[in-house]
């Protein structure tokens, strides 16, 4: 769907839906104070809004509402097989927010969720409690920015800082904060911690401009990463998903050159590489929403319910990128998407 003119749509978060249960929660109060002009509506359950049938995801994406809710069960999940676990045995993830303020054309959330409204679970303290329970059994590696970009929402939410504070108190916990944001402010407000990994997803400028709407430009992200490594933060670079375009080799070659001209190998924790892949049901829904999207209409191959580039192209993209990264980084610092390794 093409963009509508700004003056036609309501501004972001013009409507805030609040579960009755969390009306008095401090996070609710804080968020409401940030949007004094929003219409606030009391609801029974977030699914009354989020799971309505037949919603228009693409239009909602242009003017998302906020839903403030309490997460009841499944506060922390075990990592799914398609997730990169970076060699960590006890790999978990948690979604304290559903959906994202950025609008990447290829984002799987468009196929996974029925709505583009952003759900914020305000009961972070209960998620912490569940993590403590798991920590009592074994160490935990936890992705806290799954199904959203937590750092991009930091000004509204402050959850990144909360997680970092919590991690500082629990030394068996390592957290990964996956992001495309360029929020340098947070880096000034927290102390580097070896158990906190900032994982930046990077794509060539052309891919960013064409397919990653509302995200910070490549150079802005890079400058934020530079600031992070200078301050001593643990930084992971995620070249994942690698996205095909006609001149992909040139695009990715230039990108790797640029990245590694600014950042030294010893400054970063590791790198992950993976091609675009997506469950078939998600892609089916996304293609329907965006018939004019080249990235979604690409003739992917269906491999046991997961669509990705055909075998030859997958191998070519991975080995091309791997070789370039390998010139700068030792092997043990490069993680490939598991499936790709199997195929090799």
């Amino acid at each position: 769907m093409s963009s509508l003119k700004k003056d036609v749509c309501n501004p972001y978060f013009s409507h805030i839906y609040i579960e009755k249960d969390v009306l008095k929660h401090p996070v609710t109060k804080k968020i409401l104070s940030l949007f004094p002009n929003a219409q606030s509506l009391v609801i029974n359950h977030y699914k009354d809004i989020f799971c309505r049938k037949n919603q228009n995801f693409s239009l909602q994406k242009q003017t998302p509402g906020l839903i403030l809710a309490r997460k009841h069960d499944n506060l922390v999940y075990e990592g799914a097989p398609v997730c990169q676990n970076f060699g960590n045995q006890h790999f978990y993830y948690t979604s304290s927010v559903m959906n994202c303020i950025y609008d990447c054309e290829y984002c799987y959330l468009k196929g996974m969720y029925p709505s583009a409204n952003i759900v914020i679970f305000v009961n972070l303290e209960e998620i912490f409690k569940e993590v403590k329970g798991i920590l009592a059994r074994h160490p935990v590696y936890l992705c806290v920015s799954y199904d959203t970009d937590l750092l991009a929402l930091e000004q509204v939410l402050g959850y990144t800082k909360e997680w970092i504070r919590f991690t500082a108190e629990h030394r068996d916990l390592t957290i990964e904060i996956r992001t495309k944001s360029a929020n340098k402010k947070v880096l000034d407000e927290v102390r580097p911690d070896k158990n906190v990994v900032f994982a930046w997803t990077l794509s060539p400028e052309k891919i960013t401009v064409d397919f990653e709407k509302h995200t910070p430009a490549f150079e802005e992200r890079l400058s934020c990463i530079q600031a992070a490594v200078k301050k001593g933060f643990q930084v992971r670079l995620c070249f994942d998903p690698l996205i095909y375009c006609r001149d992909w080799k040139e695009q990715y070659r230039n990108m790797f050159q640029r990245v590694f001209s600014c950042i030294r190998a010893d400054e970063i924790k590791d790198v992950s590489l993976g091609v675009f892949r997506i469950p078939q049901d998600y892609l089916k829904r996304m293609r329907k929403q965006a018939p004019a999207s080249a990235v979604l209409q690409f003739p992917y191959e269906n491999d046991k319910g997961v669509y990705h580039y055909h075998k030859d192209l997958t191998e070519e993209m991975i080995s091309f990128s791997y070789e370039l990264v390998r010139k700068k980084l030792p092997m043990e610092k490069i993680f490939l998407w598991e499936k790709t390794k199997e195929e090799k």
């Binding site: 509508l4 036609v8 013009s14 409507h15 219409q39 309505r52 228009n56 018939p291 209409q297």
Partner: protein
């Protein structure tokens, strides 16, 4: 298409006049007035009658992705803070008998104050409500909105359905006259029409399904599929390849002609067709 629903003729009259709507005498179950892209149905009072009218009209005229449904009518107010004659844009509808709530998506800007509404299955008398100045929840009540929303949700997406309600009373003492009702609507007609004008000019920009290929291309693909002995899944693959190629290059006829040149068509067998499809795939990248 814009479908306007009102419960009463008295509520519809100002819009019938403004849009010069003419009665469609072919429809006898409900009074329907229309002019080009605008249709107006008088649903009669009550949520069941309203739901039936909406379903009936939507079956006769199935709405598309850029169409809208508007419910315009009078309502009661539980709070005297809402002045008689003031218009509200409804963002939450609660059905009194089931206590279920429905939420139209308010994605587009509008100039009205928003409020929530409760749909009752009876006329609310002035003795039914305790009308305190502080009462904030369920300020407004009507008899149709929840039925309209539920029926409409089978045909429209939540952002395509809007409810505009004008306060007529604080619980009814005597039934308002048609003249009074029309007067209340007339007071707001200018604002409503201006907004409807903006709303109906919003183009979602969505390419309707099936319009990726023009009819000529569609028949060209069909012909190709036949010549390649495509199975159903091969035909889907062929379409997906050409869809992508068209997005990248604007068209695909030249590509197919080029690949076809020098080859005997139709293919002799399905395996040969498959090989051709593979070649096509390579060319599409």
């Amino acid at each position: 298409m814009l479908l306007i629903c009102t419960a009463l003729y008295a509520e519809a009259r100002p819009l019938i006049d403004y849009y010069s709507l003419k009665k469609n005498t072919a429809i006898t179950k409900f009074q329907v007035f229309q002019n080009g892209e605008i249709k107006l149905v008088i649903t009669n009072t009550g949520s069941i009658a309203a739901a039936v009218a909406v379903s009936y009209l939507c079956t006769l005229y199935p709405p598309g992705a850029s169409d809208f449904l508007i419910n315009l009518g009078i309502c009661g107010s539980g709070s005297k803070r809402n002045a008689v004659g003031s218009l509200f844009f409804i963002n939450k509808i609660t059905e009194e008998i089931t206590n279920r709530s429905f939420y139209p998506d308010v994605l587009f800007r509008h100039p009205f104050k928003e409020n929530n509404l409760i749909t009752c299955n009876r006329i609310i008398r002035d003795t039914d409500f305790c009308m305190t100045e502080e009462q904030t929840d369920f300020n407004l009540f009507d008899m149709e909105a929840s039925g309209i929303y539920q029926a409409a949700s089978y045909f429209y997406q939540p952002h395509q359905v809007s409810f505009l309600k004008i306060v007529s009373d604080y619980g009814i003492k005597d039934n308002p006259t048609s003249g009074k009702i029309t007067g209340l609507i007339e007071k707001n007609t200018k604002d409503v029409i201006e907004w409807l004008h903006i709303l109906t000019n919003i183009k979602g920009g969505k390419i309707p399904e099936g319009e990726i290929f023009n009819p000529q291309e569609e028949s060209y693909i069909k012909e190709m599929a036949k010549q390649l002995h495509c199975t159903a899944s091969m035909e889907i693959q062929l379409k997906q390849l050409l869809h992508y190629y068209k997005l990248e290059h604007g068209g695909f006829k030249e590509l197919l002609d080029e690949l076809r040149s020098g080859k005997a068509m139709p293919c002799k067998s399905k395996p040969e067709g498959k090989r051709y499809l593979e070649q096509l795939k390579e060319r599409c990248m």
